[in-house]
């Protein structure tokens, strides 16, 4: 008997797993492998010994008991619950932010349209060229940001001057 036959037999033994299909349910190639293995085992003592050892090893493996302690389980459950709460809060916060953003965008769009119409009406009443009231509209829209920027710059300058005078 060649070594390939022994190795094939041992692989079949090792891989004969926990699936407990009846002989008729097995695929035909598996059935023929099993028949070949049975025939081999009848004539080969060393592979028979390997099969016995494999069965004992598997039995021994299953007999190694590893159990989780109660404290590990409860700590995990507490951590998971805490994280779930955190994730729920984050999701709610995100939802709130996205709702606010949508509302602000809608308001901005609506007020732009209303303001545009207002400036158009005023321009017509004052018999101004359309470019004039359009520039007025632009300045009106940009004005709050412009004022804020100027104030911030002035504040920085003021602070810089004061720090300089303290040092001087």
């Amino acid at each position: 008997m060649n070594t390939d036959a022994h190795e094939r037999a041992r692989k079949l033994i090792a891989l004969a797993g926990p699936e407990t299909l009846s002989a008729a349910d097995r695929p035909s190639d598996q059935r023929s492998s099993n028949a070949w293995l049975a025939a081999h085992l009848e004539t080969c003592a060393s592979c028979r010994a390997f099969a016995e050892n494999a069965a004992q090893t598997i039995h021994g493996l299953r007999a190694i008991p590893i159990a989780a302690e109660r404290s590990l389980v409860s700590t995990t459950q507490i951590r998971v619950r805490r994280r779930a709460l955190e994730l729920r809060r984050n999701r709610e916060r995100l939802r709130l932010v996205s709702v606010s953003c949508t509302a602000v965008t809608l308001c901005a769009l609506l007020s732009t349209v209303v303001l545009w119409r207002g400036f158009e009406w005023l321009g017509e009443r004052a018999q101004l060229a359309s470019s004039v009231w359009q520039v007025g509209f632009l300045v009106f829209c940009v004005m709050p940001a412009l004022v804020a920027a100027i104030l911030l710059l002035a504040k920085d300058r003021h602070l810089a001057d004061h720090t300089g005078s303290y040092r001087g």
Binding site: R10, K11, A14, L15, G17, P18, E19, S22, A24, D25, F50, N53, A54, Q56, T57, I58, H59, G60, L61, R62, A63, I64, P65, I66, A67, A68, L72, V73, T75, T76, Q77, R79, V80, R81, R83, A84, L87, R88
Partner: protein, 202 residues
């Protein structure tokens, strides 16, 4: 024969239903469902992680991280597969990530080189005769010792095959390796444990 098929069909359909319910609960991040799952899989998951890492303390840390990951990525669970297969693959990935942070990739680094650290303790339990119990206990002790000398990927394949009863395909999907690799790991792992069993019989 037909009754066996009917039983198999019933078993498969109830498994599929269970997976669907778990998937639905995980998408909702249902904390009660997670509590139940942690209880249900506590020993199996810890045992897998202890075998995989060879270190009880690390296994316990990864146990907790696995469930946090299950909570965070529950929406990724595909109910076409068994929950246990997905759970073990989440645990496997966490163990790999942990190892990559410490040293270059692969599970090889998890080979136990510390003999004093014995995570696979074998307490005396069972209902067999005192003699059988002693023999069994000795065998298990020797096999447990042998396990600590095996590469982690062999230990993983052996625990998934012989303790979890997974199919070769399921093991391949947990360990993310080809089927042929799974087969060779099981064969080599079992063969490597043989001398340890013989030691037990001396």
């Amino acid at each position: 024969m037909s009754s066996m098929n009917a039983t198999a069909f019933y078993f498969e359909s109830s498994m599929a239903q269970e997976s669907t319910e778990i998937a639905r609960g995980l998408r909702r991040r249902d904390a009660d469902l997670l509590d139940r799952l942690i209880e249900q899989y506590q020993h199996r998951l810890l045992r897998y992680l202890v075998y995989l890492t060879g270190r009880r303390e690390l296994a316990e840390d990864l146990f907790q991280e696995t469930w946090i990951r299950v909570l965070e990525r529950g929406h990724q669970f595909n109910d076409k597969y068994a929950f246990s297969t997905w759970l073990f693959s989440v645990a496997h990935n966490l163990a790999i990530d942990h190892l990559r942070r410490k040293q270059p990739a692969s599970l090889d680094g998890l080979l136990n080189d510390n003999d004093e650290d014995a995570p696979f303790d074998v307490p005396a339990t069972g209902r067999a005769s005192a003699f059988d119990l002693t023999v069994q206990r000795e065998q298990s002790e020797h096999i447990a010792a042998g396990m600590q000398h095996l590469p982690a990927e062999y230990r993983e394949a052996l625990v998934l095959r012989f303790q979890e009863g997974m199919s070769l395909e399921e093991i391949a999907s947990v360990a993310r390796v080809p089927l042929g690799t799974v087969k060779s790991r099981i064969y080599r792992g079992l063969s490597a444990l043989e001398p340890w069993l013989k030691g037990a019989q001396l």
